[in-house]
């Protein structure tokens, strides 16, 4: 007589376990997709200048705000030097009194920048530490034309989807 034969139910169990195992292993290949859109070179917040003429990329760390002026459209990793020695800003913080902030040039020496032809600016103020949200407005000559500079932090100005 025949003996030692495993039950059919255990075969079915084995079959479905294998299908799940192999199927699960293949799934990960389709998971990764690139997020299209603007890319902030320093991982900051992009604020549109003019009609996509350029962007101001903003990072706030502690009491220091850094701004990089970059190209428009998707050209957000190319610097645009500004020919000014300072950019005064009027800042409004929800529920608090207005503040003033001055962006001062901090030239990228390795890019050959100098004060007066610089794309990187910094500002320092103690209230920045507590400011979770603010809007700063100013003016500057950008690519030869006078433009309004509007910085909305932390969401960015002029884009529906920021901080890529």
């Amino acid at each position: 007589m025949l003996n030692g034969f495993p039950k059919l139910s255990s075969l079915f169990f084995l079959f479905f376990t294998l299908v799940l195992f192999c199927g699960g292993s293949l799934y990960e290949a389709t998971a990764a997709e690139e997020h299209p859109g603007h890319r902030a070179a320093h991982g900051g917040v992009l604020n549109v200048i003019g009609k996509e003429l350029g962007h101001a990329e903003i990072i706030v760390r502690e009491d220091r705000l850094e701004a990089w002026f970059v190209g428009g459209g998707e050209d957000t990793i190319r610097s645009v030097p500004i020919q000014v020695k300072a950019i005064p800003l009027t800042v409004s913080i929800p529920g608090k009194a207005g503040k003033r902030l001055v962006l001062k040039p901090d030239p990228l020496k390795l890019a050959g920048e100098t004060v007066g032809r610089c794309s990187h600016f910094v500002a320092q103020a103690s209230w920045l530490k507590e400011a979770k949200e603010f809007e700063a407005r100013g003016e500057l000559i950008f690519k030869g034309t006078r433009q309004k500079l509007i910085i909305q932090y932390p969401n960015g100005y002029g884009h529906d989807c920021e901080a890529h």
Partner: protein, 416 residues
Amino acid sequence: MSFWRIVLRSLRHHRFSSGLAVISIAMGIALLIAVYSFKEQTHNTFTQVGLGVDAILAPKGSPLQIVLNALYHLEEMPGKIKWSYFKEVEKDPLVVQAIPFAVGHSYGGFRVNAIDRKFLTDFEYLPGKSFSFSEKDGGQGRSFNAPNEAVAGWAAAKALRLHLGDEFSPVCGVREGDPVHETEHLRFVGILAPTGTPHDRALYIPLETFYLLAGHPVETQKMAKSEEYREISGAYLKIKRIRGGAIHPGIQGLQYAINQSDRNQLVVPNEVMPRLFNIIGWVDRVLIAIAAILTALSALFLFFSLLSALRERRRDLALFRALGATRRTVTGLIVFEALLISILGGVLGLVLGHGLISLGAHFIKMETGVGFTPGYLSRADWLVMPGTVLLGLLASVLPAIQAYRLGVLRNLSPIS
């Protein structure tokens, strides 16, 4: 008689078709194993390791071309960078090591990299691993100390059959027919121990020798004396690390600043190589598709061999049933026969696959200097056994159903 003994006897009885099924499954599996292993190991080598170089300071041009030239000794550098600019970058607090080099010479088909001596003595091509001249590691001699001395990478020395004390005249260029610096005779004083990286496939001379080679124009020779005029092809940079060994995030800012300059750029190999894999990814996919089709065909072969074996054994199986075997038992015979064939095929495929990697790894190392580990376990290795068992189960479904439905009386009736 036990169930398993019947299964084994049946396999022995149909050993030719069963053997062919095992071989065809093994071939498909072996190809899958080899393709996946090469794919994953290549990806790891070209993206995660970075050959010890966090970033390359280079002239403007294609980043991929720069990585291929600076790290893999292929292609050509698109230009030169100023020594003064290199010194500026070297001063950046994020840069912990900067090694300048000048390329553009070759010998016997291998690139001659004129490089700062620090590369051979202080540079780590992998975390904690520096170049070795020690005989116990497979190296010989020492690093260069004089302008007329040279060092050979392990694979280059092996291919060119170089020995310590041998002399050579570098070719001024990397193409066939380029002029030779005939009056220059550089002497090999060291052969590097194998590293399993493309660094093995180059010859190294002191950086200053590059400018002083007889036959170079006056402007180039002036670069040896004056830092103001000096130019280099690029520099390997090691960037400061943060906790956990990750590269300091400040590299983004450094790269941005350098990339804004007119003539220079900072290329991060770990950013560039994945792009290459995106471009050539279709090759992998085609190879994997071929291996998958082969495996599927082998499953089909298994299916037909089971089906034909079943036709031959109808009478035997009917006899089993008459002797008291249940429908489930007869079905199980078919299923387990298929399982045994597929498992044997899987195991043989694993062995063949890794044998194939071992064979290919030898040739790839000689051609590219990139080392592959035959014992590396890729994602495919973990899927092979469950996959082949699944394959066996699938191939046995229809024959097993036919065995289940087998009519005892009809198949036991006299044949003539």
